[in-house]
Symmetry: C2
Subunit: 768 residues, 2 copies
């Protein structure tokens, strides 16, 4: 838990340099534009502790798996988004004395990230060993208006001396991943070139042979006037620079504008990559920093227009929710179905850039609510395109006939994770992928997604469940053995309620999809039957048997479903009775102790109850919540959002707010002590859900938006916006009323607190 970040409605502010927290600040103030991301590293040399990080979307390396005891079926590699060529570097020296904040005396320091425009700013006054005092101001952004471009404005002012300032803008491909398994270097140089102020470093990844060309150009001004100093270029392995020296007098200010182009073979063929880089550099340098930034502001304003959430009366909460929305928006723009949302986005190496079920469970709702429909569809298509690999993956584990098991962690559809209890057993992810199809169609009404895409995935998932479930002669029921639920503090359990529920639900939903297709698109259905070799009667009759006779562990006394077989054998001591020194248990306890404890890492039984809320009555939800919440340690960043929504749905507003707080400022306050590794990007989707589905009580039922809004006590008002089908709506809740403004041209019907309302286009609805 840290609290050095200043509260502000739009900015993330560090005042004074927090040397010890530098890695945290570097994560928090990361910038990105969906195509690349950059931690808030300094432009000039810094020899202190720092995690240098530049990342390029979709460019990964299959790092050889590190494993103690190999199991059949483990993947050979873990795909990693790589630390890529450093494009921000500008080294500075004064009469040969290098500027390095690790060595200088820092007189003032300020760094902020303006979320309104995605601009990172930094300014400081430093006193060097020689006694020279200098002021530096830098601004930089990665453009979301022109995603190939990054821009930096860097000014240096002599405060108490006259002399020489030497500036060395450079590009450096000599970067490594700190988390490389065997200290490998992942990149090889293809070419470097430097010509005056324009140069590039052209790199290729080993094995995967992605190419990334990173170019720079720059210009310099002295006291606001463009200068053309003598340039001295240098070219080393994976490195180019162009250095110049200017004579300054006391009070003079040197300004460097550096433009970077970061372009990969994901978007250009190899033959055109260098040319594209040159073009982008030219574009950037012709426009110049100010014009590029004006485009950036405009593009961000548009993004905020549909996604902003405002809170009045609580600056920390306002900053928190905007930070979540901002980071999600700069991680994923949704225009490329080959990309996805990594748990840490482009803000660190750990889990960097790989895809978990987080996307389907926690990020899709955010995109559905705030982005154009195509963005959510692209998230679904990502999995659709990986279906052949998911089928291969299942075959490796002994499944047949087109059954699919999606990977727990992936970047290209192949499994990367190598812990048997997760890799092979945390199979509820298959359920999340099925649920995402339902969720997308339910929200958007886009039934056409079923054929050709959705149904093919659903069928492969149902085939998997049908084979994975077995008949228990003992129980005279179908059982699902050897699984790990979302609560990863239990491994290899039998009949995990959530997993079994998702399995059965997937079978039911696939049957419904078959009915729908047969009814609405009989010819299309015939084609699918042939293509997918569906033996309808044989396959569906087993599904129906399973649906009818599936076993779910149940406590008849408490009238609750049990997380898994044997759960009640544990010592059910509530989390509140644990000693503080035992928390968090995942840092304090050995794994076996965690496993035999009743403590729950994140919503598990409650995850399906959340997803299928309408299949449980309120009393039942209350019973489950009251049983599981006291046992939940929320040591996953994905936990408290689900609890917040459920608490809200059963009227526990204080609990909902408490749970919301844990997710909303998770990274800003470094709640889990790991923000240094990068931000919890996917859990930010959960924060949005906790807000809109928790406080707003938003649900979609029968094609209509439903709300049961309330406002946390300390707030004056809040507002949020939703894209819903053809409409765009703005919701505002204050102490007195809930109002909805229909920004769109279509009339709307919606339900608030169970009451049906009609809301014409361009009109407002107010409910006291």
């Amino acid at each position: 838990m840290k609290n050095y970040i200043k509260h502000d409605e739009w900015k993330i502010i560090e005042e004074g340099f927090h040397r010890e927290e530098n890695r945290i600040t570097e994560s928090l103030l990361s910038i990105g534009n969906g195509r690349s991301g950059q931690r808030a590293n300094f432009e000039e040399k810094y020899s202190g502790d720092s995690l240098q990080g530049s990342y390029v979307a979709g460019v990964y390396y299959p790092d050889k798996t590190r494993v103690g005891w190999w199991k059949n079926g483990y993947p050979e590699y873990f795909a990693k988004i790589l630390n890529a060529t450093n494009w921000i570097g500008i080294n500075i020296s004064f009469d040969g004395e290098e500027l390095d904040l690790s060595k200088a005396e820092i007189l003032t320091f300020y760094r902020d990230l303006d979320m309104k425009s995605g601009l990172l700013s930094r300014s400081f006054v430093a006193k060097l060993s020689s006694g020279k005092e200098v002021e530096v101001k830098s601004k930089r952004f990665l453009s979301i208006a022109d995603q190939e471009i990054g821009a930096i404005r860097y000014t240096v002012k002599a405060l108490n001396f006259s002399g020489k300032i030497t500036a060395t803008p450079y590009i450096d491909g000599n970067v490594v991943n700190e988390d490389s398994n065997y200290d490998e270097n992942f990149w090889i140089e293809k070419a470097t070139q430097i010509n005056g102020s324009v140069g590039f470093v052209y790199m290729e990844t080993k094995k995967t042979a992605f190419q990334v060309c990173t170019g720079m150009s720059f210009r310099a001004c002295l006291n606001g006037t463009r200068i053309e100093p003598q340039l001295s270029s240098d070219q080393k392995e994976k490195y180019i620079s162009s250095e110049f020296t200017v004579e300054v007098k006391n009070g003079d200010e040197l300004c460097i504008e550096k433009y970077a182009a970061i372009i990969s073979t994901l978007y250009y063929p190899e033959t055109k990559l260098q040319n594209a880089t040159e073009k982008a550099l030219k574009r950037a340098s012709e426009k110049g920093f100010d014009k590029l930034f004006a485009d950036q502001e405009k593009a961000w304003a548009k993004r905020w227009e549909t996604s902003d959430i405002r809170i009045e009366g609580d600056v920390a909460a306002q900053q928190g929710i905007r930070f979540n929305i901002f980071q999600l928006n700069q991680t994923y723009l949704g225009d490329d179905e080959r990309l996805n949302i990594g748990p840490k986005g482009f803000t660190g190496e750990k889990y960097g850039g790989v895809t978990y079920w987080d996307t389907e469970a926690y990020c899709l709702p955010f995109e559905l609510g705030t982005s154009p429909q195509m963005v959510s569809k692209n998230l679904l298509l990502y999995r659709y395109k990986h279906l052949p690999k998911a089928i291969e993956n299942a075959e490796k584990l002994g499944f047949t006939d087109g059954a699919a098991l999606y990977p727990m962690v992936t970047i290209n559809g192949e499994e990367c994770h190598n812990e048997w209890e997760i890799t092979f057993e945390e199979i509820h992810r298959n359920g999340a992928i099925a649920y995402a199809i339902y969720n997308y169609i339910n929200y958007t009404g886009d039934q056409d997604y079923l054929a050709p895409y959705g149904f093919e995935v659903l069928l492969a998932l149902s085939r998997f469940w049908s084979q994975r479930i077995n008949w228990s002669e003992e129980k005279k029921k179908f059982v699902l053995l050897g699984v790990t639920g979302p609560n990863e503090y239990e491994n290899n359990v039998n009949n995990n309620f959530h997993t079994s529920y998702m399995a059965v639900w997937t079978l039911k939903y696939t049957l419904k999809a078959i009915d729908y297709l047969k009814r609405e698109h009989p010819l299309l259905y015939e084609d699918l039957v042939k293509k997918l070799k569906l033996k309808e009667l044989k396959e569906t009759s087993r599904w129906k048997k399973i649906i009818k006779d599936m076993y779910f562990p149940y406590d008849f006394g408490r009238k609750i479903y049990l997380q898994q077989d044997g759960f009640l054998d544990k010592e059910l001591i509530p989390v509140s009775q644990l000693k503080p020194e035992d928390r968090p248990i995942n840092q304090k306890w050995s794994w076996d102790r965690i496993l035999r404890s009743p403590y729950i890492k994140q919503a598990d039984t409650l995850q399906s109850i959340f997803w299928f809320e309408d299949e449980f009555d309120k009393e039942s939800i209350e019973r489950h919540f009251d049983f599981y919440e006291p046992l939940t340690v929320h040591e996953s960043s994905l936990s408290s959002c689900i609890h917040a929504i459920l608490a809200a749905s059963i009227g526990r507003q204080e609990k909902a707010y408490e749970m919301y707080l844990r997710t909303a400022r998770l990274d800003l306050d470094d709640y889990n002590n790991d923000t240094c590794d990068g931000l919890h990007i996917t859990s930010m989707g959960g924060t949005w859900m906790a807000f809109v589905q928790g406080f707003g009580g938003m649900r979609v039922r029968n094609g209509q938006l439903n709300f049961t809004p309330f406002i946390p006590e300390g707030w004056n008002s809040y507002s949020f916006r939703l894209n819903f089908r053809e409409a765009h709506l703005e919701f505002k809740m204050d102490k007195k009323q809930f109002s909805v403004y229909n920004h769109s041209k279509v009339n709307m019907d919606l339900v608030v607190h169970g009451q049906q309302y009609h809301l014409p286009a361009r009109k407002e609805l107010t409910i006291k």
Copy 2:
């Protein structure tokens, strides 16, 4: 499955060079003397596939753990017995042409290991590229009479040429472990020296700082006459050699006798190590090869006298059982309680030299039956001395008040294993360590072992179980959650019968030990109470509650104990119905599939039924055997021995023989396709058990030996010997009768087929 090894009563024979199987032969023909071991690598250069291996007892390196996903409590390192300085090397060339069987044409080749004397012999005729034909004969052994010494006699004969033979005896410390986790080199050079034909390489292990000094000296003869050729020495990093060249005529024979001394700081202080090496070399060279070998023969004859098993009418079976006994005897001599028996002994790197519960469960009975009592006691003292580390280990996992968890894998008492399901959960090993104390006392009658040693261990183990077991409100019973039984094809199960049974039995046995000590040694007991801070009433009253109310999973229909909770939910298809291409499942199936299958890797429920046979009636044993045996895949080398003994005990003689065959020639026939990595040394103890306790039906009850012997159909007769307390007995079984000869000076009472017999000293008893 291989069958290129020739059948012979005393020898392990390779006729013709089996290049592809070289690593297997190298394992099978390994020599050792308890202090060091050597694979059957060639003396002269061999550039073909080979696993070079020289191992020194107790000299280990903490290789940095390789783990994919770290868990709290994992050890930082895995202690490995290292591949040590190569002492066997003698390179040979003819007129500058190097002898290398990988490149020469091999005209004849023969290699054997004589188990009677631990002598490895090799002879071959090879034709070099130049057309030169040479005959080579080599013999070598590691002396069990003088454990610091190894000796080689190496002769080279020119068959069709005259010219120069150059011989280069050397010692080389430039060795690596193939299984090094991070390709590290584990050794540093302390010193090298070469002076004429005498030299040494003095090495130290990194981190652990063990020092090993390996010396050589040699002499040469031409056609039987000692020669003193000009020596040319070489000294490189970690390497010394002394080379000489002799002119030979066609038919001449050059003989080199090379002596090695291998001495570590386990036995000498650093200051005396080099001196001890010199002394040993001097001793060896003064005695010479023939005299040293005569001592070796004598020492082995003595060892065989108490441990040999003879089988008439089946050479393969005779070879098999002797191979098991021989390898056990050359791995562990029992004179040093710091040493133990590694699963692969000194025959390979894998699991090399580390200790598992194998020792207590499978090797102790062999030592009890065939070695002086001190040898078994030393195996127990090994664990006693590790008790403080076992208590530390338990503390790491959250246990308190002197509870001990012995490591799954260790060399110095610290845990080395890093798979949570094994490291933290395969805790039945604690039970095996308690059982070994019982087994030792029961066999030897040495009640005095309880205080000061045995009781201290038992108490720490009981304290562990008492804390590890919890009360289930649901079951109103005590339960044992989250464990892995001996059947490692189940992980993290609840209420594994074997583990729970061992836990309860340990509590009972500790209570008995307390009673015994209070009654027989009240003052000693008082001291122990103080030393161990035993709160007798409080601690034992919880134990008694557990004993009374422990839960064991039971099937009331089948009237059998279940391996664990939920076992009957599995699809109980017998192993016999699996497709051949699915076997062995651990190579063919992914781990999750194995886990949810009913297939059993090695005796689990049957392990406790074997150990506590007298607590089950015969019908109950039959029911359990008939339920579990058809589900057992015996993919552990430790499995079939237990099934053999149980089958014998319920009169299933054919089954017993079938099971015996799987263990007896496991390595000789490379049954599991892994003999290349080294031999299954600890399972050899199981083979002995299967013989003596299976065919012989040997048990110890009320201080008396009991037998229910039978003879497998194809055999004419068999005999085995037992040390039992003050007696030494020889047993012979043929088609007609069972006879026992009492070699000792004490009278004996024993039970055969339930009948009590008296056998005076030096007399024979014959039972038709």
